[in-house]
Point group: C2
Chain length 414, copies 2
DNA sequence: AGGCTTTATTTCGAGCCTCGAAAAAAATAA
DNA sequence: TTATTTTTTTCGAGGCTCGAAATAAAGCCT
């Protein structure tokens, strides 16, 4: 039910806003903050001195940024790196990466383990995850301020509370309650997030102009994933985690998908689907478990070299993506799209078909106006997004705590 | 940019909340309001007495609701009908309806005009609209408090500012700046809204339990429309007005749609499409301009009577709707669906195919859990939603005015 | 060098707002 | 009539933000 604003919420929200402004702007002055937040200078001054007193923010004696202007120079304010740390864990196919990050976002330590996720027993997988978390938290205890938050990014579907991995394509196990497990072991709050959503979070921080209120991050790799930002918030469903774009139906009764259904977008645009078509295998043949990036690069080269089944395979992939995007654009309006992952390196082979397909759909009027960006390194984006998600949780929940904060309701404001 | 909460926002927001609580609850007591809003009794008391003093609310001396409990009886608070009025205009195929509504939501006067929207010249259409508005506003001036808001609901696409009708299937004219026109003529603030969105607003008010945070209102008539409520807000695109569900692509390159494209959901599920299939006309034949409801009822009867092209036509419509809904459910999670409009009276003929199609899509795990309601009277819903939209604008903008209100940003909180 | 100008930040009192406790009001029960 | 119960109002207290004024810290100018 609608809830009123209580008097003590006021300060809390404004504190959160000041912290947020500093995180976004990097090293703003008090005057700058007052400008962006529409609060008075006196208020900003009061809140800033509180936060500095608490060790959340620090004044930056930046001699280098010597103002060339007249007048008292502005004092830059920055996040205090020693205010706390967070741990970001990324679990993806055959690899597990953990990173310890200070409050200002700098990496303190990082560690990667490789193992076959597809065959690793359930308890070993959980054990590996727990161990990497433990090592990082331990390291935090020795060398750095305490760990205040852990976020796991996993390819797959999580529950709406971001506590349990319900299903993942990278392993046979289901319903792993990572949040409870790790919280139990460490006493640190944990959430489990979808990898594509973290990509979107990262893009939003990296390119604040282009990716702000509405955009799409599309992961093109073995499978197809989507992170959707609407009105400045990562869109997560009410029961589960993310936009299952890859499993929208492109052609009813069509090609066999990894998920067992037929005609999904992924069954045309995933690596395995492109490979299957390039090999002239029937559309209902069982999807391959994994196609090496090198093999896909080879197919792309062949497709670029001349017409043939390879080129046709990429064209079909483009058409599936285009019709899928067209459906998304029919519901919202066209928005910028970031193509992420190794599959995006073949974007040149798909762009024509994508635009052609979009042009045939309701959102198609602006087909040419839609901009696509390419970023083939999905891991970096996921890691960064994961870290930002953890840090903004600390911003909102720890340093500006309160009952009705958005993060507490599971919303991700990126 | 993120904006801070200023001190004066506080009162304004809490005022808006009290007004909203009264509108939702009907005749709550102060204690009841305090309960739902989490504000203290003293605050509610203060705000309520302000609003009563301003004539926005009134105490209801309801002798009938005599409390059977001990203790001082609660005094019911209600919206003051005489606090103001609004005008709701619904423009749909061949009919124009205007309604004058008092602040408590009671209809004071209503008027309907019939003319052929498909052929009426642009200026005549505008003239008719202006005339009906003028008559109602004039009537308001004589018998009732002043008109504070006008909302038009039109089948079609509006701009994101809700000021201009960009395109509508019920008439050949485009880009009619209704808001500017009517504001210029009356001096009363105006918005132009999509009819399906108003259906959703109305459903949200009528069935507060079932339709609250996430649901879909699907208009089944000559065309197919959708009103989408996500997180308690009617979802409107960034550039235009509504979810173009009817023009999501069901089968790439498929049946000819009224919009000129091929394979849209509407090209299978709109009345004209069902009729075309029932008549065994080719899928690429030109859509009929209008199919009378009686004719559709006749087809439905035939379909119920036994197998044949009619039954097959409804089955195809169901499949298209089902796959479309499946795509929507792939992006969000499954949500309750209200089937609205005359087409919904044949829901029994489509339900099987709808559920079957949904079961083949990503959201399909819960296919059986998805509940469908039927409401064949779309006009009533549109009218009501339109009125509520206008009234809540008055609640938020006039009686609790401020710069950063959600309504001012074009959001519809229903 | 020293005063002037400009810009940033802090200080301070005023004005609101919400809250909790206590008082007042209005009914029923005994 | 008195006690009890429940609702509503009243009344400081404490907080918060705001605007104005004061203070701080530079560059500019003579």
């Amino acid at each position: 039910m609608t809830v009123g604003i209580r008097h003590d919420d006021l300060r809390r929200r404004n504190r959160a806003m000041v912290i947020g402004a500093v995180r976004r702007a990097g090293q703003p002055s008090r005057t700058e903050i007052a400008g962006t937040t529409a609060l008075s200078h006196s208020t900003i001054s009061a809140i800033a001195s509180d936060l500095i007193g608490e060790g959340v923010l620090v004044e930056q004696k930046s001699v280098e940024a010597a103002a060339l202007k007249r007048g008292r120079p502005q004092v830059a304010i920055a996040l205090n790196p020693r205010a706390g740390t967070v741990v970001a864990i990324v679990l993806s196919l055959n690899s597990l990466t953990g990173t310890l990050i200070d409050y200002s976002g700098q990496t303190i330590a990082s560690e990667t383990r490789r193992f076959a996720t597809q065959v690793l027993p359930r308890n070993d997988l959980i054990g590996e995850t727990l161990a990497i978390v433990r090592r990082l938290v331990e390291r935090g205890r020795d060398e750095a301020p305490r760990v205040m938050r852990i976020v796991l990014a996993i390819q797959g579907i999580t529950d709406s509370g971001a506590r349990t991995l319900l299903w993942s394509p990278i392993m046979p196990h289901t319903d792993i309650g990572f949040a409870d497990l790790l919280e139990g072991a460490t006493g640190i709050p944990v959430t489990v997030e979808n990898d594509c959503n973290m990509m979107a979070v990262s893009l939003r921080w990296r390119h604040q102009r282009r990716y702000r209120d509405n955009f799409i991050a599309l992961l093109l790799s073995h499978g197809i994933g989507m992170g959707l930002v609407l009105r400045g918030e990562v869109f997560t469903g009410t029961r589960s985690s993310g936009a299952e774009f890859g499993h929208m139906i492109h052609r009813p009764g069509g090609a066999l998908c990894r998920c067992g259904r037929q005609g999904c977008v992924e069954a045309y645009a995933g690596s395995y689907a492109i490979w299957r078509n390039a090999m002239r295998l029937p559309e209902d043949s069982q999807p391959a478990a994994d196609i090496p990036d090198e093999e896909m690069a080879r197919l792309a080269e062949k497709a670029r070299a001349g017409d043939g089944p390879e080129r046709e395979a990429f064209r079909k992939a483009g058409a599936a993506l285009g019709f899928g995007l067209g459906s998304v654009f029919a519901l919202f309006d066209p928005a910028p799209v970031a193509m992420v992952g190794h599959g995006a390196s073949a974007f040149d082979l798909m762009e024509g078909a994508i635009r052609e397909a979009i042009a045939q759909t309701a959102g198609g009027q602006h087909s040419n106006a839609i901009s696509f960006d390419i970023d083939t390194d999905e891991m970096r984006l996921i890691r960064e997004g994961c870290a930002m998600r953890a840090l903004t949780f600390v911003d909102d929940e720890i340093f500006a705590p309160g009952s009705d904060s958005q993060a507490a309701q599971g919303r991700i404001v990126a």
